[in-house]
Amino acid sequence: MNEFIFFINNVLISGLILGSIYALGAIGVTLIFGILRFAHFAHGDMMTMGAFIAFLLALGASALGIHGPLPNGFLVLPLAMVITAGVALGIDRAFYAPLRARGAKPVTLLIASIGVTLMIQGLIRLFFGVGTRSFFESEPKHLIRIPVPLDGVTRTINFTEPQVLMLIVTVIAVLVLHLFLTRSRLGKAMRAMADNPDLAQLSGINTALVVRVTWIIAGALASMAGTMLALDVTLKPDLAFNIVLPIFAAAIVGGLGQSYGAIAGGFLVGFAETMAVFNWAVLLRPFKSVLPDWIPNDLSIVPTEYKLTVAFVILVIVLLVRPTGIFKGAST
């Protein structure tokens, strides 16, 4: 049984956590693609930026002596989301809107977003240095261990408080987004514009407003994903740049422009990554006495150092077999 608990900890829980992060990131990418029709490469660094904004706010809260029942980094999250959404709007106004007004191709906007990526990275490293920081320098990170009431089981199911919060926050974000997209007037306008921008404009939808709302949602979600990721692991300048590829893989696998597809894609990629690097020989260990000797001790599908390639292989397979993604995605 101990081996099975090990499997739960290393595959199910970490897959769930990784999947939530990818899903939150991929929703932002897919929303921007659906409305503005370009792959926003700077989304990863918007996540990092959001995390650093939350970090500054949490420092400020600690300095004011605020200590709630939950981590400070989590308490300041709403404010950080508002600020990041504002910055996202500013970035759009300064760098993307002029190109759109000129009628530039989506490719040009993608290159511009890479420029924005470099600018955000440069600024973050300029002010915060290249070192690693933690939200839990002044307060403890609660570890939750659940013992399994079975004979002979010594391992416990482990997860941390930020991970629980992350799952709750992801579920809430997805629900709110779902209600917004299906019930509110603005959400319906967004879906209409994602479907057919010209027709939406003809029907009297204020497309400029829709674009602004898209950036606000994308910025807020990016800040949320980045902060939750930084709470789970540590805060560093390349926090989200390293996972921008799996995020894009998740968005494309789910079908670009499809919010629900992005969620499915995020969890698919997250679980695929953890399952691919898991050593399946661990599960066979209890049966070692009955199994033949030639079964090797390491049965992981890919070595850990190639974890990044898993997302990409999934992406390539999906692109070859079903280019529109699992859910039928928008096309340009």
């Binding site: 190109l99 490719v107 890479i114 990526t117 470099l118 990275q121 440069g122 240095g129 494309i252 390539v316």
Partner: protein, 427 residues
Amino acid sequence: MMRRAVLLYLGLFVLVLAVGLVMGAPFTVRLLVEAMAYALIALGLNIQWGYGGLFNFGVMGFIMIGGFAVTSMSMPLNMSFWQSDGPLMLGKVALAGLFGAGLVLGANRLERIGAGPRLKRTAQVLAWIVAYIVYRSQIDPAAAYIEKQAGWVGGLGLPVFVGWIFGGLLAAYVAFIVGRISLGLRTDYLAIATIGISEIIRALIKNMDWLTRGTLTVSPVPWPVPLPQAYQAWGVENSTSFVYARAGYLALIALVVVAALFLVQRAYSGPWGRMMRSIRDNHIAAEAMGKNVKARQLEIFIFGSVLIGIGGALMTSFAQIFDPGGYQPINHTFIVWVMVIVGGAGNNFGALFGGMFIYVVWVLSEPVSQALFHVLSQWTLAFGWGAIPDIESRSLQMRVFVLGLVITLALRFAPRGLIPEVIRRHS
């Protein structure tokens, strides 16, 4: 337009002269060699993006392939590998690979013996899984054995030129595979796909210690011309010997760049170049005219990658060290894009100028931004805020910000570059 190009090149010449006066000749000659290598890479990307409109964001991967190729060709033989069981085990790996490839190819052709689509799909999946397991069962013990017995497989001891050519060929081969997979995709998918592929190439080269020595790095990679040490042995003074040796390399690399420029310029103005531009500007119309768009795009993707691979090989053999950990998307992909965009996509002289100019500015910006930060630090000290900490690492990050700013500003205010593409009108 001609006058503008001449003026810009004159300005670059004056800039390099000024650098030479301030920083000394050995530094400047080194700078020129590296700038030439980047210019060659920029030419390669210019073929892909400027001629063909293809979106290659995996420049770093092809540079690494060139570097790996020249290292494995020109390094001397590693006798402890050849005298061990390593070659035999690698032979088995090759057999396993061939078996797997045969299996996959067979599954792909299954409909010829009357298999339905569902059966074929199942067989394909099974073939891939079996091929992967068979290959892994051979490569894992072989890699572990070689790393333990011999460190790595070593080079082949061939002349450096062979390594350069092999760098181009290997890049062409990888480009062929990458292109076959991803060129049918839309432009933005292609961008993501190429970024991903270059990251995979980096992960492979970094972690296949048995083949590349990984992060342990390989040095000294041989030079095609006499090294400074050789000149010193002939009695030349130390600093002069560096100038002589690097000037020799510079002559060689300049020859390669001029040859490449001549060839791509000829191709650009010929019917082939016209066809490529027509595909870039309107691939539907080109297809209607009977051009095989996919095959042509694959062709141009391969040609561009060859130049990038050779450029990477030139860079590695000049640096005399192959360090897979030293390759970064910022320094090897994005900066090349800045070179092509700022220089002028679609114009070879523009790409060449952009390559050299941006590289010189990039290198110079390090001491300049450090000096700037020291001045700022003096001010903050004077205001009583204390000095700026970690000036060295921070000022380096300033360059990344400026690079991003240059991209966005260039796209907004000079989208066609400093030396734009000349659009000829036939009336």
